[in-house]
């Protein structure tokens, strides 16, 4: 029989062993040094399934310190089940303070959203990335996409945008809109809505991207130029709710969720849960807003 102690060894602070943390930190430094470039890393298995935020977790656990205050969001919400699960795991493994307040967090792990409220120099936003390769939709082989990045050969991506325009009258890119970072690498911003894409550029905070299953880390350092792909005469546009206001806060100018009621009527609600709480509780927090071209 197994002795009871056999399965109960304690885990290291922040779960990962120190060697793995060092390796991941080195890769993060490289990613910061070459904005938008995908750095391969070890990506050890985590107790969370692949595709459920392991890449984000690796980064968070590699850089978190005891004095950090953590926030985890999924689809903009602190209360989404997977956000709860990840927050609980990191909390258990580090004992760090957690918060729902976007302004109070020093480290935010996110899936598919950037908080509406402006993030500062004191904050790091860690994205969970399902598919880091922006060229995957036009080239399925990894060795070829790496070569295309190396040669800055992005013609296939441009052609795919052009074809979408010819066929549908718009670029038809929803979430995960292709961007060019620092005038060099094309990058997937992870499946954030277009609404969030302009906030990547010239930000005060550090953006780190972790793709666990695909074993890649990349970064957008503070004050880096990030341009969504667009043509001179066909411009990038963010989602437009045509003046619709949030049913709970009577305010607009934020990413809205479409919610269907029992009787199939629909209403719109501010997606960012903490932003909504703040809208309802007091003055509107500072935001960077993008104006769609006319």
């Amino acid at each position: 029989m197994i002795e009871n102690t056999k399965f109960q060894s304690a885990y290291n602070f922040a779960f990962l062993d120190e060697r793995t943390k060092r390796e991941i930190r080195r890769k993060i430094l490289k990613a910061v040094a070459v904005p938008g470039y995908q750095v391969p890393y070890s990506s050890p298995e985590m107790p969370i399934a692949r595709g459920w935020g392991t890449g984000g977790l690796h980064i968070t656990l590699a850089i978190i310190g005891r004095e950090d205050t953590l926030k985890v969001i999924d689809q903009g919400s602190d209360a989404s089940v997977n956000a709860c699960s990840l927050r609980q795991f990191i909390e258990r493994m580090t004992g760090c303070a957690t918060t729902f307040d976007s302004a109070a967090a020093s480290l935010i792990q996110t899936r598919h959203r950037i908080p509406e409220e402006i993030l500062t120099e004191q904050q790091i936003l860690v994205f969970q990335v399902p598919q880091p390769e922006i060229l995957r939709s036009v080239e399925r082989h990894e060795n070829k996409t790496r070569l295309m990045h190396a040669e800055a050969d992005y013609s296939k991506l441009w052609v795919s945008l052009y074809e979408a325009y010819v066929r549908y009258g718009s670029l038809m890119r929803g979430a995960g809109y292709p961007v060019r970072v620092n005038g060099r690498f094309m990058m997937s911003p992870s499946p954030i809505p277009r609404w969030d894409v302009p906030n990547l550029s010239g930000a005060r905070c550090l953006y780190l991207f972790g793709a666990g299953r695909e074993k890649r880390i990349y970064a957008v350092p503070p004050h880096t130029t990030v341009e969504p792909l667009e043509f001179e005469d066909v411009r990038f546009r963010v989602e437009d709710w045509h003046g619709t206001l949030c049913a709970y806060s009577d305010q607009g100018q934020a990413f809205l969720d479409e919610i269907y009621e029992e009787d199939s009527t629909r209403k719109f609600v501010v997606n960012d849960s903490n932003f909504l709480d703040k809208l309802r509780g007091g003055p509107r927090p500072p935001q960077r807003l993008f104006q769609n071209p006319q």
């Binding site: 399934a49 209360a79 790496r146």
Partner: protein, 374 residues
């Protein structure tokens, strides 16, 4: 906190965990002991150890129990645990010629030096229910074991030799394609992301950890025309125990213990090099995995062969396709992530779709109206 935080994700997770535990136990039957799983679910434990990439029968058995027999989950638990372990040593190269043979067959020759040893297998058992098992008791088990014990001659076991390998015969005769073995890089797929084309060591490591069903799917495809060469021949398939040794800091080689392995050499016709393109050599594809998992070892052998003849037209001739998509823990995780909410991405797509749809419908409407106006 405000309205969104009261959705109660945290509470839902806790309730779900409690409920699934209730489902595991609600029939109130006696708990299965880890030792029972380890011994009576031997092949399942072997499979989980192989896919979990950790030779730890007790841990594998616990993982199986904890997940109500879900192999994907069990292998995943083992992998996650494995990733927390520091690597203190790398073993000396295992010598499977030292294997204590439990089973060893060759399909290539009627007789081989040392003989064919069928060993423990259900290959030739008829797939009929055995109703006696439904009422099996400890008493009947003991009676069976006593009967077997009488047949075992301990003196003979001590005399069992190590067996040479069938491919040695082929090699000695010069039938095997001379391979360029200059690439001696030993990759570690657990510490480094794959880059393609990857060295054979990485390819074999990935397959040794791969999901059995996934490997079988692609291995099978090579036999149905989705790779050149038709089906190969099992040069040798052996199952048994192999000693593991490490070198201590003072350079002395220390014996650690034995692991049970399945090893397979698949022999196939090979394309010659440019210099001797018309010489019909044979090539050997190598399969090795933990425990007794013959399907996996055979498929790995077939795929090792097919992967050395790159051809993007066939999944089994493509390293990227084969190695990425047979990786069980990754494909299982990503497939299941579809259950996570995606409403932000969906909303972003809807926005495009609605606009484009309105624009297109409006343009159609214009077309029908125009001729009427004329």
């Amino acid at each position: 906190m405000g309205y969104v935080a009261v959705k109660g994700g945290q509470e839902a997770i806790a309730n779900a965990a409690e409920l699934v535990e209730y489902y595991r136990l609600r029939a109130a039957t006696p708990p299965i002991e880890i030792e029972q799983i380890r011994t009576q679910m031997r092949l399942l434990v072997d499979k989980v150890m192989g896919e979990g990439s950790l030779y730890a029968p007790d841990h594998a058995a616990l993982a199986i129990k904890q997940n109500e027999g879900d192999v994907f989950e069990a292998a995943f638990v083992l992998r996650a645990y494995r990733a927390t372990l520091n690597r203190e040593f790398a073993s000396e190269i295992l010598n499977t010629r030292e294997m204590f043979i439990r089973r060893r067959i060759s399909a290539a020759f009627r007789d081989i030096p040392g003989g064919q040893i069928l060993g423990p297998t259900r290959d030739y058992s008829h797939r009929l229910f055995d109703p006696a098992l439904a009422t099996e008791t400890l008493h009947s088990v003991e009676a069976f074991l006593n009967a077997i014990d009488c047949k075992i001659d301990l003196a003979k076991i001590a005399q069992i030799p190590a067996y040479g390998k069938v491919i040695d015969l082929l090699q000695a005769e010069g039938l095997l394609l001379p391979r360029d073995n200059s690439d001696r890089r030993v990759a570690d797929v657990t510490r480094e992301a794959l880059k393609f084309p990857c060295p054979r060591s990485a390819s074999l490591q990935m397959m040794a950890r791969a999901e059995t069903g996934g490997l079988m799917c692609l291995g099978y495809s090579t036999m149905r025309g989705f790779a050149a060469g038709g089906h190969g021949t099992v040069g040798e398939l052996r199952v048994g125990d192999v000693p593991v040794r490490v070198k201590d800091p003072r350079g002395r080689v220390r014996y650690l213990g034995k692991v049970t392995l399945t090893e397979c050499e698949m022999v196939n016709s090979a394309k010659g090099s440019k210099r001797a393109a018309n010489v019909p050599y044979l090539s050997v594809g190598y399969g090795l995995c933990f425990g007794q998992n013959e399907t996996k070892a055979i498929c790995m052998g077939m795929l090792d062969n097919s992967l050395r003849e790159p051809n993007e037209a066939n999944p089994a001739n493509s390293q990227e396709f084969t190695l990425y998509h047979t990786e069980g823990v990754e494909s299982y995780g990503f497939t299941n992530h579809l259950k996570l909410p995606h409403y932000v991405t969906f909303q972003s797509g809807l926005d495009n779709l609605r606009e484009s749809m309105q624009r297109t419908l409006a343009s159609y409407a214009g077309l029908t109206v125009e001729p009427a106006a004329k």
